[in-house]
């Protein structure tokens, strides 16, 4: 196992039976690692094996070959499950339970890891904007609300590793930003994550590394923000008490309060430089500074596609619609 890694996967193989004689090979030698406080983005076409990978990591399915070391144990171990958070793709829950009952039910299952499960449930409900729907039954919830419930449940046991299968699906733009902020907070606290998504911009914000899953293995690994690409935006964090002062010359500047800090995300690079100089002159401490570099989208698309896609070319040639 790689030193310090929360998750280490080596040469994983898995196939499914199709009928009596045929088998479809989904994973063929998948290897990856995720460290503490690291977010690994898993990209790939539909059916590439992302969900299968997650099922293997959570012990819901067994690999045919290869090794998985997760949180110092094996998938399916009780202690591993206690320290793991999983948000499945298209989450489903018992339809007749209310949101509060469901969260308390899950809280009771991981109670040994929490000081008070009820407080944790209430706090997460507030974080994910679920307090208003807490008395509603699951069957009455919209798809987006259900997704937020699933994410809240994934964070319930204060996990050290999060496995998130399309976590931002069905969320509106505001909810999406809120969830991204919560996940970034988890990342700062040292939680490792493996996240699958089809939306590059989401992974660009969250992930440290991207793995392109193709032909059953990681075909290409890309470090987000790697040298070579020019920085396009910056994330800056300052103490909340200084935010008023910081915005004196920039009243249009929009930030998000995160505890005792204020975060300004996605600031255009040139503007961020100007602000940093001004804030430095004012003596405003910079608590966190992160550059965002443009992902090589064309290269990623080419890695995912079955056939090479020329840079800048449309991803698909549209045929004329028949009359």
């Amino acid at each position: 196992m790689t030193d310090g890694a929360l998750l280490s996967v080596q040469d994983l193989a898995k196939s499914y039976r199709l009928g009596l004689r045929r088998r479809q090979s989904v994973l063929r030698g998948l290897s990856l690692t995720v460290g503490r406080g690291e977010v690994y983005g898993l990209l790939g076409r539909n059916g590439a094996g992302k969900t299968t990978t997650f099922r293997l990591l959570t012990g819901l399915a067994r690999p045919e070959a290869g090794e998985i070391h997760i949180l110092g144990g094996r998938p399916g171990d009780r202690d591993v499950h206690l320290r793991l958070g999983y948000c499945p793709e298209n989450p489903q829950f018992p339809p007749n339970l209310t949101v509060r009952e469901l969260m308390r039910f899950h809280g009771a299952l991981v109670a040994s890891r929490l000081v008070t499960a009820r407080n944790r449930v209430d706090w997460l409900a507030a974080q994910f904007d679920l307090s208003d729907v807490s008395r509603r039954e699951i069957r009455q919830l919209s798809r987006g609300t259900l997704q937020r419930v699933a994410l809240a449940l994934a964070l319930l046991s204060r996990p050290e590793l999060l496995i998130l299968d399309e976590p931002l699906t069905a969320l509106d733009p505001l909810q999406r930003q809120r969830v991204i902020d919560i996940l970034l907070e988890q990342k700062r606290a040292g939680t490792g994550m493996i996240v699958s998504s089809h939306i590059l911009t989401e992974l660009e914000t969250l992930a440290d590394r991207l793995g392109v899953l193709k032909d059953g293995r990681i075909g290409r690994e890309i470090a987000v923000g790697a040298a070579g690409a020019a920085p396009v935006a910056m994330d800056i964090r300052i103490p909340f008490e200084k935010s008023k002062e910081a915005r004196l010359d920039a009243p249009d500047l929009e930030g998000v309060r995160e505890g005792e800090t204020a975060a300004f995300r996605g600031l255009p690079f040139e503007r961020a430089q100007t602000l940093l100089q001004r804030w430095s002159a004012l003596g405003i401490p910079i608590l966190e500074l992160a550059e965002r570099r443009e992902l090589p989208a064309d290269e990623i698309l080419a890695s995912i596609a079955d056939e090479p896609v020329p840079a800048g070319a449309p991803s698909r040639v549209r045929e004329k619609e028949p009359a």
Binding site: R55, P95, L109
Partner: protein, 255 residues
């Protein structure tokens, strides 16, 4: 055991909000009311007819609850992936199965209890005297149906809803004929058929053990040793069913 208790409570809470449960009980109440009104037409056998039909109704309600609520809910949960969120918690598969089964048995107890209450209320309102040995009769229904719950659980670990329903009903029906298999084994001259009949006899549940309705309505209650024997047999067979279900489920991949 804590996880089993948590799962049982969640299962019960969910079942209590299932409209099917109330439809089942409501329909039964209407049937019993009609029966109470029609029973006097039986000329002198009113009480017996009422008790007989009421016990039969309790039996059928419990059976429908296990087949429809049990098999359908398990199937729905599996197909929709509801199990995923629980099985990725620190819950072993055995605990999960036991929790689901305890929830089912809780529902069974509720259905039998509620149906018996309706029966008693209608009987009281129409002046039908209380059936001696009713508690024993209800216990026998519970024991028999808990075996059906075990069968439903076992089959639902490896097959779909329709097949679970078919297999559970087939074994249940054959279980009522297991004594005939013994008679057949004594009569047949073929060694192979005798071995087959004897094997099936010991493999199938001996459900004729629980056939006490006629004697109860006729006024005789099963002897205490017979009740103990039925309890012991149920416990043994039920444990075997749960063990088999746990063995299958432990190997199963959850999609």
């Amino acid at each position: 055991m804590r996880n089993v208790a948590v799962l049982t409570l969640a299962g019960l809470r969910e079942a209590l909000r299932d409209r099917l449960l109330y439809s089942l009980l409501g329909l039964g109440a209407i049937l019993l009311c009609v029966l109470a009104l029609v029973a006097p037409l039986t000329l002198g056998a009113r009480d017996k007819t009422f008790h007989d039909a009421a016990l039969a109704w309790i039996h059928v309600s419990a059976m429908l609850a296990m087949l429809v609520m049990g098999a359908w809910n398990l199937h729905r949960e599996r197909e929709r992936g509801i199990w995923l969120s629980v099985l990725t918690r620190p819950v072993s598969r055995q605990e999960f199965l036991l929790g689901r089964l305890s929830g089912l048995l809780g529902v069974l107890g509720l259905v039998i209890g509620a149906a018996a209450l309706i029966y008693l209320l209608i009987g009281w309102a129409t002046g039908v005297p209380l059936l001696p040995g009713l508690a024993v009769g209800l216990l026998y229904v519970f024991l028999e149906m808990s075996l059906l719950a075990g069968l439903v659980l076992l089959f639902s670990t490896f097959t779909g809803f329709a097949m679970t329903l078919f297999l559970a009903l087939a074994v249940f029906a054959a279980g009522h004929l297991s004594a005939d298999l013994l008679r057949f084994a004594a009569l047949t001259e073929s060694g192979f058929l005798r071995a087959l009949a004897l094997g099936a006899h010991w493999l199938l549940p001996h459900l004729e053990l629980y056939r006490v309705r006629n004697s109860l309505v006729g006024g005789s209650t099963p002897a205490p040793d017979a009740v103990l024997a039925a309890l012991g047999y149920t416990l043994l067979y039920f444990t075997a069913l749960v063990g088999a279900a746990a063995a299958v489920f432990a190997r199963r991949e959850i999609r």
